[in-house]
């Protein structure tokens, strides 16, 4: 029997190529930025403002997404109804939308001349160019990542677990909280990490919908872009900080999932 000896090396070569290509820019950022420059970029108060703003707005956006998205995804995963596929497509649409289009859309809906602009103005709420608009943009762009992941995590649950919970005297809400969420937790956390990563890196929609005002709407990606034109070294330093923060969040979430007992899935 003739073995295909060339195939395993081919797989190996493909992985090596992918790995090199994907890590090269990140490695370059850190190679070009000395530790001194990295610290110096944190000396810049504008950079610290951007980092603080990025962290809390993205955390708030992810919090909103998880709070609303988890029950919504559960409903999508456990009920079949007419038009379900259409609904899922609508929810996933922002995934493929260019961020600039997302920004325009948000302006058209909530901007001063938008659909709800007048209503918001009458209520005394100003959204555009405020920190609120940053949170809205991040939520809009990152939510589909969580919803998709959470929906598939809930779909993968054994339906008999949910049935068993009901026959054991637990209502729907208890079943959701005590069985569905713990059993789907690894998937939910993976979705949370993806959404958070996406929110931290958000650029286009925020720029169009919220602008780039230091301390108010200027998140790290916007601050990097501002420096890019004038001070490449500072842009590089801030990029390195963002990579480190995003990487740390991703890693923490992964480790938390591994430590979670819910990882023990049946068979």
């Amino acid at each position: 029997m003739k073995q295909a000896r060339w195939f395993p090396p081919l797989l190996f070569a493909a992985l090596t190529t992918a790995l090199c290509f994907l890590t090269l820019p990140i490695v370059a950022i850190f190679v070009d930025t000395g530790p001194g420059e990295l610290l110096a970029s944190l000396d810049d108060p504008a950079a610290v403002d951007a980092l603080t703003l990025s962290l809390w707005t993205s955390a708030l956006a992810v919090g909103i997404i998880v709070l609303v998205g988890t029950p919504a995804a559960f409903l999508l995963a456990t009920r079949s109804f007419r038009g379900r596929d259409l609904l899922v497509t609508l929810i996933e649409l922002p995934l493929v939308l260019p961020p600039a289009v997302a920004g325009i859309g948000l302006l058209a809906a909530l901007g001063p001349n938008g659909l709800f602009g007048q209503a918001l103005d009458d209520a005394g709420i100003r959204v555009v160019l405020t920190t609120t608009s940053v949170v809205l943009a991040l939520t809009f762009v990152a939510a589909p990542f969580y919803l998709r992941q959470a929906e598939s995590a809930f779909s993968a649950l054994d339906r008999s677990w949910l049935d068993a919970s009901r026959t054991l005297g637990a209502g729907e809400a208890t079943t959701f909280a005590r069985v569905a969420i713990p059993a789907a937790l690894p998937g939910l956390i993976a979705g949370l990490a993806l959404a958070w990563g996406r929110a931290l890196g958000e650029f286009g929609a925020t720029l169009m919908f919220a602008g780039s005002f230091r301390g108010v709407t200027q998140t790290v990606p916007l601050a990097i872009y501002e420096r890019f034109a004038t001070d490449f070294t500072a842009a590089l330093g801030l990029s390195a900080v963002l990579v480190a923060v995003s990487g740390a969040i991703l890693l923490t979430v992964k480790l938390a999932t591994r430590a979670s007992p819910a990882r023990v899935l049946p068979r």
């Binding site: 008999s160 919970s165 005297g169």
Partner: protein, 357 residues
């Protein structure tokens, strides 16, 4: 406290129409092929499936009455449900799975009570294990403990043994039989295996294509199958032919291949003649002892399957037969695939079921 479930509903291509009642302390085994609607009947009883028309009554409590718009939620029906794959919560330890059923008890007493339940099932040492690390038999006992810890008014068992391997199944079924004997509540058990139904049920209802085709004790069903399906399902050999009453009071059945057999049952017209594999004896060909009270067919051994000290012989000849003989007979007669033999059984052991022509 008795239990009754009536349901009529369409499930895809299947039309389910059942009416099952079980007195307290008794076990009704519903047996039938997969897709016959057995599990659906249980799901209706537990409130996990809403029938178009139905009534579920437990003692004096009405759980469902579509005519009166009553439909209690699953959590409001006190039923202990053991699912086919046991449905243990993977993120909970064994005792936490049982404690989940004790939600109506004070918080502090749940853990000791759950551990006590597990101890009753011989699982005290595994109380802290997670389901993924338990064997099939252990999982089944945790599921049973969890269902009983709910202190149910009715016990619903969906194929409680089918997820187990053959060796574990024998021990688990003895254990389950003990549990059911002690249990005071009505029980409905669903299985696709007639032997299991016969062992665990006080009564057996054979269900096919959404309907109960016959109900009675297991031996009744085996001895007097109402239809060819029941005969086949209970494990009998089924031969099709045409019956004509004979002058001596017996009935002569002409099989499809032209061979004739006799039965002490009376029938006229198209029939299914049934005989149990253990009624058939095997002799070497030519060793004839022809008597009018005996049936004989020439056949060839097709297959030999040993189960314990017994062996099932698949025979091909004028008709396909299955005979059950001792393993000593196999070696004594030097039986192997291809050996020509004579299959003999009594006319009195041949049951006739009239077929619709």
């Amino acid at each position: 406290m008795s239990f009754r479930v009536e349901a009529t509903t369409d499930l895809g291509a299947l039309h389910l129409d059942v009416d099952l009642d079980v007195p307290s302390g008794r076990c009704l085994a519903i047996a039938g092929p997969s897709g016959a609607g057995k599990s659906s009947a249980l799901r209706v009883a537990a409130g996990l499936l809403q029938p178009m028309v139905g009534r579920v009554v437990s003692g004096r409590e009405i759980w469902l009455d579509t005519a009166r718009g009553i439909d209690r939620r699953p959590e409001e029906r006190r039923c202990g449900y053991v699912f086919q794959d046991y449905a243990l919560f993977p993120h909970h330890r064994a005792w936490q799975n049982v404690a989940y059923a004790l939600r109506d008890r004070p918080r502090g007493s749940r853990e000791p009570e759950a551990r006590a339940w597990l101890a009753r099932f011989g699982l005290e040492a595994l109380a802290d294990a997670r389901p993924a690390t338990l064997s099939g038999g252990e999982r089944q006992r945790v599921a049973l403990a969890r269902a009983l810890a709910r202190r149910p008014d009715v016990l619903l068992l969906d194929e409680p043994l089918s997820a187990l391997d053959t060796r574990t199944r024998a021990r688990a079924s003895r254990h389950l039989a003990d549990v059911l004997r002690e249990s005071q509540v009505p029980t409905i058990l669903v299985t696709h295996d007639f032997a299991e139904a016969a062992l665990l049920g006080n009564e057996v209802a054979i269900i096919d294509d959404g309907r109960v085709v016959q109900r009675g004790s297991a031996s009744q069903l085996a001895a007097q199958p109402a239809t060819a399906f029941v005969a086949d399902f209970t494990g009998a050999v089924v031969l099709y032919g045409t019956a004509t009453p004979d002058s001596d009071g017996t009935t002569l059945v002409t099989l499809a291949g032209g061979h004739r057999i006799r039965s002490t049952d009376t029938a006229d017209g198209p029939v299914a003649a049934t005989v149990f594999p253990w009624e058939i004896t095997i002799e070497p060909t030519g060793h004839r002892t022809p008597r009018s009270t005996q049936n004989q067919l020439e056949a060839q051994v097709l297959s030999i399957t040993t189960i314990g000290g017994r062996a099932r012989l698949g025979l091909s000849g004028a008709a396909s037969l299955t005979a059950e003989v001792s393993t000593t007979a196999i070696s004594h007669l030097d039986l192997r695939p291809g050996t020509p033999v004579t299959a003999t059984w009594k006319a009195a052991a041949t049951r006739l079921v009239a077929l619709d022509s």
